[in-house]
């Protein structure tokens, strides 16, 4: 059994790493839960944003927070364009999964053709910064990521709960026809939500550029665990997505410390299977 310090450090790193799961899960959870569209290209969009941030940062020396001002709105527009396709063809859940998978493959190829399949790393002077609290180290970038993810999740949650637009969206998700009969223009709202989902992928991409090593095939690396997070956090619930992300991050990290690193994937999927069998209405 590892020491208490090691376990504590594993827990902190896990929760912070889980912030990334949560941030990626946020956009997916919104479009799946409220629009009934499963967007596999979410990951490809995040990586496209990451590569753009990398490109702007390394070639033009633009700081990532300035890049984000361009990249995030660009992702928003891509989200709108994607939704136009879904709306035009009245795509259902399953078809959306297949189409966005194909779209992700196309984006992956595009990234590979432009940036090659080599590993890319965006080095900054703050990438290795960390704060020492007692016996534990807290990496600054991950902490900022968690704060941003927290603000976005909390803000989105309040927006869905408290504002007219948010309530209209939730009503349209439950029954679009009835909502339309009460004067809710759910199609316009759906565009807004799709754009937001893609913009969140842009935010995630900014942090991916700073934290992770980039390679086109990495697009698929987080797919499984983030989907598990989306479901565990309950579809369409932004706060749930973030909390589930941190929960899974922490349990993976603990599993790595206690057993072996390679056992980590079992954790999230076992949690998922148990939850779904225990309560099939969870989804």
């Amino acid at each position: 059994m590892p020491s208490a310090t090691l376990l504590g450090q594993a827990l902190i790193s896990g929760v912070l790493a889980g912030g990334m799961y949560g941030l990626l899960a946020l956009g997916l959870s919104l479009s799946w839960g409220l629009l009934r569209l499963v967007n596999l290209s979410h990951f490809a969009l995040a990586f496209l944003a990451a590569y753009l941030t990398y490109e702007l940062g390394t070639t033009y020396h633009v700081a990532p927070w300035w890049s984000a001002m361009v990249v995030v709105p660009a992702m928003f527009l891509i989200g709108l364009a994607q939704h136009w396709l879904f709306d035009r063809f009245k795509v259902n859940e399953l078809a959306s999964l297949l189409i966005t998978f194909s779209f992700a493959v196309v984006l992956e190829v595009g990234i590979q053709l432009y940036w090659t399949a080599d590993y890319r790393r965006f080095e900054t002077h703050y990438s290795a910064l960390s704060i020492k609290v007692g016996a534990f180290y807290i990496p600054v970038l991950e902490l900022v990521l968690c704060l941003v993810a927290g603000v976005l999740a909390w803000g989105t949650w309040l927006w869905l709960r408290r504002t007219y637009v948010g309530k209209a969206l939730r009503a349209a998700a439950e029954d679009a026809e009835i909502a339309a009969a009460y004067g809710i223009d759910h199609r316009k709202l759906a565009y807004l939500l799709s754009g937001m989902g893609a913009a969140y992928a842009g935010v995630a991409g900014t942090f991916i550029a700073l934290i992770a090593t980039l390679a086109p095939a990495q697009i698929w690396a987080w797919l499984g665990v983030v989907f598990a997070v989306v479901i565990i956090g309950r579809l369409g619930n932004p706060l749930g997505a973030l909390l589930a992300g941190m929960l899974i991050g922490a349990s993976e990290s603990l599993a790595m410390a206690v057993f072996a690193p390679a056992w980590a994937p079992v954790v999230s999927f076992s949690v998922l299977i148990v939850i779904l069998l225990w309560d099939p209405e969870w989804l």
């Binding site: 190829v109 994937p265 079992v266 779904l276 099939p280």
Partner: protein
């Protein structure tokens, strides 16, 4: 026997193609061709096997890599660690995969309201768990398994030819299996599950067993394909085996070709594999992936049903069917006048039946007997439990307490399909036909699963008889979407009657019909009784209740409130008061 161009020519081409491919190694082509064709066989087998459950019954699995991977690693482990001969490991790979699928199915198919995405994600999650277990145990251990030392049986002159012929045999076996399932009882049941699982169960399809059977069969084929593929790749790794692209390609190929048709996945797999290969050999492997991706987007948007079903629909449109000779008969056979002698035998005995939904007591201790041959009207205000009673008798809801026996056999806790086979048939208030089946197929299915075992021809005759009986002649090949409400209600009746029920439960067959159609329906119900069925019907239309019923049972707040001859019961002040309020009862 005359040679039919549409039937025999494709058959001839198919036989010739199979023979040519089987003897291809004799031509001693460069190994490149054999290995390219092997890949096509590989994807055809995988996608066709996937469609057995996911295409036919509509439960999309994203876990096909798990079953395939179990086959790969069964062979890898048994041949390298235990020196089992390779060919002997193929059935073992199939068996292990089938066992895994049956295990997953036994758990998840028990969930009521298992949503499609839930199934897709559960199977995907299982894939990741199995991959991790294989990676961390001595089965693989993370280093991968070399298969090069494993002796390959000398079926053919070269190694590639041997693998080619194994892959080819597997492919033929898979497609033949898919054809057989599609034309057998199993496939009929799976198609019905695809359209409306609750109705399929109520019509006598053992849905739980069928889903598990299809899942196990689908996994077994994937497992066997995996076993052979282990020898093809030579070096087996977890990352390469449990790849996410396996389930996604399988789904895309099947959907592109048409996953509800036995030949659809084979077509889709051939097209995509050939395209990918063309780009790889042209040195544009990466670009090829993107182009395949774009083609799929276009195909899914414009051909949502897939290539084969779209082609069939197009051919049908080009050659319109001959105009139906017999106009739809509106008048049903004349029924003998009442009264039919009622027997004193009890057909249905309901004792102390209660049904609770959470805090809501829908049925609260109902006792009721139905005599053989009678028409019993079931009335009561909204929410009094009429439809719930129909639902518990037909087994849609399990009882909370009490007993129900039909013809002496206790059915209160039996699954709905067994109750259907004991001679209980029902209709739905809002018609629920199988939307992708024609009128004839809808009725034939109910005759097949509800009625006594008969030959195909007899079932067809029976179905045609009831279609004519309900005045739907001429509409045999129409899909339910092409019927109006009146006709759909009569299709409900035809489906129920084709099962030759002892007890017929009718749930508001008259609601939504105009007065003329109501007259028609009343005549029809009489005619049905004249055939010897016992009828329990829920109805709000008092004219019909009084005209048709031998006895009327009034339900109120989940309890039997009154029972007796129609006119007396409907005049009872207590009955009037529950319908119209106390002031009218005086």
């Amino acid at each position: 026997m005359a040679v039919s161009v549409t039937r025999d020519v494709p058959k001839g081409i198919a036989v010739a193609a199979v023979l040519a491919l089987a003897f291809l190694p004799a031509a001693r082509l460069p190994a490149f061709y054999e290995s390219f064709l092997y890949l096509i066989f590989f994807w055809v087998s995988l996608s066709t096997s996937w469609a057995l459950l996911s295409g036919f019954a509509g439960y999309f699995s994203l876990g096909h890599a798990a079953f395939f991977g179990v086959g790969v690693y069964t062979t890898a482990a048994l041949t390298t660690k235990f020196e089992v001969p390779f060919l002997a490991t193929v059935p073992m790979g199939a068996a292990m995969a089938a066992l895994l699928a049956a295990g997953i199915g036994a758990v998840v198919f028990r969930l009521r309201r298992l949503r499609g995405e839930l199934f897709a994600l559960l199977t995907l999650a299982v894939t990741f768990v199995i991959a991790t277990i294989v990676l961390n145990t001595p089965i693989d251990g993370g280093a991968g398994v070399f298969m090069s030392a494993v002796p390959l049986p000398e079926l053919m002159s070269t190694q590639t030819a041997t693998i080619y012929i194994l892959g080819f045999a597997m492919c033929v076996l898979t497609v033949v299996t898919a054809w057989w399932v599609a034309h057998a009882r199993l496939g009929m049941g799976l198609f019905a599950i695809h359209d409306d699982e609750d109705v399929a169960e109520a019509k006598g399809v053992p849905t739980f067993r069928y889903k598990i059977a299809a899942f196990a069969l689908s996994a077994a084929i994937a497992g066997a394909v995996g076993s052979i593929h282990a020898m093809y790749v030579g070096f087996v790794t977890v990352a390469g085996t449990f790849e996410l692209t396996v389930p996604l390609y399988v789904v895309l190929m099947s959907v592109l070709g048409g996953s509800r048709h036995w030949a659809g996945p084979a077509v889709g797999a051939t097209v995509i594999t050939a395209l990918l290969y063309a780009f790889i050999s042209g040195g544009e492997a990466i670009l090829g992936r993107a182009i395949v991706g774009l083609i799929l987007i276009v195909a899914i948007l414009w051909l949502p049903d897939g290539i084969i079903p779209s082609a069939i629909a197009w051919l049908k449109k080009r050659r319109p069917a001959p105009v139906a000779v017999a106009p739809a008969a509106e008048i049903v056979p004349v029924a003998p006048a009442r009264p039919v002698a009622l027997s004193e035998r009890t057909l249905v005995e309901i004792k102390g039946v209660t049904k609770r939904f959470g805090g809501l007591q829908a049925l609260n201790g109902v006792d009721l007997t139905v005599r053989e041959g009678e028409i019993l009207g079931l009335v009561g205000p909204n929410g009094s439990g009429k439809t719930t009673l129909i639902n518990v008798i037909s087994g849609f809801y399990p009882l909370t307490s009490g007993t129900i026996s039909v013809d002496g056999a206790e059915v209160g806790r039996a699954p709905a399909h067994q109750i259907a086979r004991r001679g209980v048939a029902r209709t739905y208030q809002i018609p629920r036909p199988f939307t992708n089946m024609t009128v004839l197929e809808n009725v034939s299915l109910c005759a097949t699963f509800g009625g006594p075992p008969r030959s195909r021809a007899e079932i067809r005759d029976e179905a045609l008889h009831w279609i004519g009986f309900t005045g739907l002649s001429g509409k045999e090949d129409v899909l339910p979407a092409g019927l109006n409400l009146h006709e759909r209600k009569f299709l409900e009746l035809a489906r129920a009657l084709a099962a030759r029920p002892k007890l017929l439960l009718l749930d508001e067959v008259l609601s939504g019909l105009n007065p003329h159609e109501v007259d028609n329906a009343i005549q029809l119900v009489r005619a049905i009784r004249a055939q010897g069925a016992t009828i329990v019907f829920v109805e709000h239309l008092m004219r019909a209740v009084v005209e048709l019923s031998d006895r009327v049972a009034v339900l109120n707040e989940g309890k039997l409130f009154a029972l007796g001859a129609p006119r007396e019961v409907m005049r009872d002040p207590r009955v009037v008061s529950i319908y119209l309020g106390k002031s009218y009862a005086a």
